[in-house]
Symmetry: C4
Subunit: 231 residues, 4 copies
């Protein structure tokens, strides 16, 4: 079942090492069939070189395995929470990419500092609050999703305009209109983290960009008046 | 038309990912036929792997497409402004190369700190002032060119001696005697930004080089008494 | 003798340049046959490209060569001390990987700053005290092992929960359940050092993670209740 | 003439881009025949991909071309000064490798911070004083050599124990027992600069290593009691 989606999710997973976003098995990509409410995700702890489309695992919104011989990614419950609450997204990526993790470990947002950022992320990329002891001890992976959603609600951020987050002392999750698009956003987030880190070392107080430049660049590529690219 | 120039511009665009200056489609190179006043430029948002010389777009000084089935780079109006005002240049490059962007986002010049810099850039590499709301909202890409030219005029910098600039909170533009030479200057600017960043972390106040060393190195490679290289 | 172990140790040594952990001959891996109390280790100062499984050297717990035509790694005595005192380990790696060395040269622990760290290292990765003049002048390499063991004893760290250490002003040693697993831990240590370095520049006081998050991640992958990976 | 030495110098030049020490033509290696007092050096401004052993230029101690159709490296006069005054060296390398240049531009020594450094460089790697206006304007490249030699004399450093230097606001020169060995030292200097830079950001005052550890490591690999490597 879901042969096409498995292929897409497989290709998107394989792109992670190609883009230098993961070492070993430190990353996972999923995709969703919104009609069937079924999620296809990488199996847990399997080397990228041993992956095949057939090894992708299909789970439902309760995390139950619907198809597949392997255990799904240990982060599956986080993916499910994101799909449940961010209704438009169709792909989710989690990595430990080093620049994004540096901000996550520092516990600070990546400030919107320039047009590269603004082309994809409409505002500062938020870091979640530290998780509480009981959140960590009970249903940790699900609670990781809950704290992401709480962050977006409390700060009134639209996940369609902000396709990524930093989980405190952990690392980035990104999402998008497809598994491939979610990987794309993961690459951008890593680049932006690297450039903004260095800008902050040069001029900590001066890196934040003006709001009208942020508006211009985000809306040049997104929304009804977008004019970047072909057609 | 302009078959040779299209080939040059194509090759120069393809060099950007080879030198590690771009990810995805974040860069563009153009060249100009000064007699015909026609500019050849990369199409907008097309992957480097899908480029061919035939896909290059030809535009005139008004930005009108003279030849080509695709939309030209969204930065075309900036390129045109540079060609109009910097009369000697024959190639222009724009990238989001990470070290140069770090300075652009910090909003500070790259100080002339050593002989690598002085071999190519005769003084601090300038960063433009932040653009104003109305400049961003109306003819943004053209105004980006205007603010570059304003920077060179107000600071009395000769663009032939300073083949690059940082657009505030955005990234670098470089130029040169050909599309290939403009790419060369883009590589140098990125290297110089990396080295000077680290020098500034070691000794912020002490990185600026002496004027006579700057003179020596720039003039050793440029102008009538140059003696670097063959003949 | 020990044909399988030689092959394992050879493969683990060859992985060091593949992972970018060494330049020239700056690294060595060993493995142990616990029953025979024999150690297989890389020969001293031999280029990786010239290594073969046959060139691995077999030594006993006194450092005496039991088999092999070449001198063993100059760090052999350190490896032996680690095997003698850390009874469960079966592989040891030493490198001069740059991020780990940066912390070793700064003489500071790598603080447990996030889940990547916590998945492998149960607490701050310790740096040893500087060695004393007489320790350096007499049996230096053996004393290097002694000071590592002293660090673990004084700070009451279990080497099974902390598979690595930074030798002050020198570099990292890691270990594990096999030569390959020790290399794996060396890769992780280098990644963690890189990410935590950058986190510390962003927020020096704020990088240390909460204890319950550290517990969660370490125990999710280690010990009787581990649930990461396949079975 | 000097066919073997040309081959050695050619190979050593080609190693520079392989080790990532140069971009474009920013580096040169020479070798010397001490009996004939003839120096073989890279031609000026020629791309590495166009080099052949035959294109190497032979010059004497006055800088006169003894053989070769191309102009020698613009840095030839510096190489000659080093060979004249440092009697034991047989190869010289100049690069603009980024980490070494960062220290050169900051105008500070690379402090001896750990055993990687101590294995090759017996003390802090010195930076020269800034050159004076008249030194730069008259016989600049020769004076660059003079200021290096002055640095070693005034600070009483033995060039056989310290095979490299940073020219202020310029970059590194290294040397050694052969062209290949000089390249080796250039690779090490770059690695050491990178690691010590990061150590200094973590603990500026605490990076300098103890003298007895420096003695131990340098003498373990150099001099009559060396015991590292085979034989």
């Amino acid at each position: 079942m879901l042969k096409d989606l498995k292929e897409q999710v497989y290709q998107a997973n394989m792109a992670l090492p190609d883009y230098g976003l993961v070492v070993f098995t430190w990353g996972n990509v999923s995709g969703i069939d919104r009609e069937k409410e079924l999620i296809v995700i990488k199996p847990s702890g399997v080397d990228y070189k041993d992956l095949t489309p057939d090894k992708m695992v299909v789970v439902d919104f309760d995390g139950k395995i619907v198809e597949g011989d392997l255990k799904p990614s240990s982060d599956t419950a986080t993916h499910i929470e994101l799909y449940k609450h961010f209704k438009d997204i169709k792909g989710v990526v989690h990595t430990h990419s080093p620049w994004a993790v540096s901000f996550a470990q520092a516990g600070i947002d990546i400030p919107a500092a320039g047009t590269t950022h603004a082309d994809y992320f409409y505002g500062d990329i938020p870091v979640t609050r530290p998780m509480k002891k009981d959140e960590i001890e009970t249903e940790y992976e699900k609670q990781t999703g809950t704290v992401i959603i709480e962050t977006f609600e409390e700060r009134q951020i639209n996940p369609n305009d902000m396709p990524g987050v930093l989980v405190n002392d952990h690392g980035p999750f990104t999402w998008g209109s497809s598994p491939d698009n979610a990987v794309h956003n993961s690459v951008v987030l890593e680049q932006v983290a690297e450039m903004t880190y260095h800008g902050m070392q040069l001029n900590r107080e001066g890196v934040r960009m003006d709001q009208h430049l942020l508006d211009k660049h985000f809306l040049r590529k997104h929304g009804k008046d977008a004019y970047y690219g072909q057609k």
